[in-house]
Symmetry: C2
Subunit: 351 residues, 2 copies
Amino acid sequence: MSKYWSDMVKRTDPYKPGEQLNNPRIIKLNTNENPYEPSPSVKKAIVDEMDSRLQLYPSPTADGLRSTIAGALNVSMEEVFVGNGSDEVLAFSFMAFFQPGKTIRFPSITYSFYPVYSKLFAIPYEQVALNDDFTIDGEALFGSEGGVILPNPNAPTSIYEDLSSIERIIENNPDTVVIIDEAYIDFAGPSAVELIHKYDNLLVIQTTSKSRSLAGMRVGYAIGNRNLIEALTRIKDSFNSYTVDRLAMVAAKAAFEDKAHLQETVGKIKATRDWTVHELEQLRFDVLPSSANFLFATHQSVKAVDLYDYLKKEGILVRHFNSPRIDNYLRISIGTDEQMRVLVEKIGKYV
Amino acid sequence: MSKYWSDMVKRTDPYKPGEQLNNPRIIKLNTNENPYEPSPSVKKAIVDEMDSRLQLYPSPTADGLRSTIAGALNVSMEEVFVGNGSDEVLAFSFMAFFQPGKTIRFPSITYSFYPVYSKLFAIPYEQVALNDDFTIDGEALFGSEGGVILPNPNAPTSIYEDLSSIERIIENNPDTVVIIDEAYIDFAGPSAVELIHKYDNLLVIQTTSKSRSLAGMRVGYAIGNRNLIEALTRIKDSFNSYTVDRLAMVAAKAAFEDKAHLQETVGKIKATRDWTVHELEQLRFDVLPSSANFLFATHQSVKAVDLYDYLKKEGILVRHFNSPRIDNYLRISIGTDEQMRVLVEKIGKYV
């Protein structure tokens, strides 16, 4: 604390990302990264772009990338906004659609960055309890004063809500923006993107960090009615004209263009997920039904925190949240078959 | 405008960056980019990093890059903050050190993003008139209520204020933060970085976009007392955990490590600058004394806006600001010798 800090700094309660250790021998199952490399065409695109003009600013409007994303998602370029990871897109969205004095709502167990943004921008919030089975209580999100945000699939629960439940939340908040944060959608069911032409209060946020293996490059995006996209653009252009650099831009574009690679890696991760769930259940874990690239699991007798410590000592990083109702769960990212085999073997020895 | 826009969006007045045209035949002298490529070691670093793990998040603390910058500037790593271009670092600084209800001050002719940030974050501001010779009136910046920000060299005037004038501004604002925005410092004189151990209210912001030829990669940084750096880190960690991607991080590190390349390109640009000033003066321009990689010039009889239009038609982009006192000036970035020769020749034909 210092006398030079603004009130805004003083009220922050910063997010703590999962540990990023540089030791390549560690099996890293703690930040829901993709264990597979991005499409080979990503590297080619980076090398081509690098050979031209790194000394020139990137396109401030990112038209090339936006039009590729628009094509892939069957929307128009004016319905797409891109930013420096979906975290930045989320931050801009809190600025653009939520505000002090109007209480927003989100689930009590959810992405832990939402309360962080709320505190930063002094936006009051209500956290709505999940049902006993950890699904989202949609009706509790109806008629919000200031807006609604929820991930689908939810994190860290990994549970996907079907599109009809999502649609009921959107239509029951006609006067405020509903943000569906779809970081993990490619591992789950249909996206809410198909609803954007029906609801002008719907903003869908996705990322290239998970299914497209580009966490290292920081490219997220939002899809919605062009009035919402214009609001995000106004915020961005009042904050930082160029948030996506030249190499990130071409990397994301190439990743979007290689649909076969996406299908292949998503398919592999889902198969590994099914295998891992089966093995963990054999070892007396209860595993929530996952539609993401991670599992949320609790053991019937061993404490989650003890398991977390044991795995860390054995060179496997998973994530533990010390929060009500979930403090006896572990969030385990899906790695390669070999990584998950080691995980299951180590856990088998311990429990 | 839409009923879904927050008050924050409604009060924005977005920045308009210089045009980014993709036509490589255009001579682009409008956004103060470096005409030379970055150090060859930048490309090597990018290729090495790309071959490892683009699917993993970057380091949220950017320790490697911060320690390289700290070493180069003779400060400690805890006195360095890095971000997605100096524009993002400036935005975070407005959030961290300035606030609603406390009027900040900056020069009336300066980087046009400052009023944009002020409007976004509802920070009241006073613009202090420059002296008749376009130098900064330092005393008018003494004793601010909410803080001070100024570029040195100033933009678009290109004029450098010596360090003793800067120091007087800092010591005459003991209760608020003074931000010195040194985007162009490598083309000028001594940096205020050497004062950070003397003044805990001083924040210096620099960029790799100009002298280090990395505009396309978006890496800016701030240097100051560790309490100020902690405030910036708290804002970043409440906004976006990873703002500098893996390739941008290694590119900036490599650029910092190649001091010879920096000296060589800065030397070339200064020589070209001197030649261009001389030629423009022969053509009856008044050119402000430049310590940057651009010139600010007015012709004794031809109108700036006419010259701007003519040059654009001839395939040369420069920048014209339609603002009081400077609407008869052009801001001209320093390109290669050949580009400046073409510029001088075209202007010679017109005037």
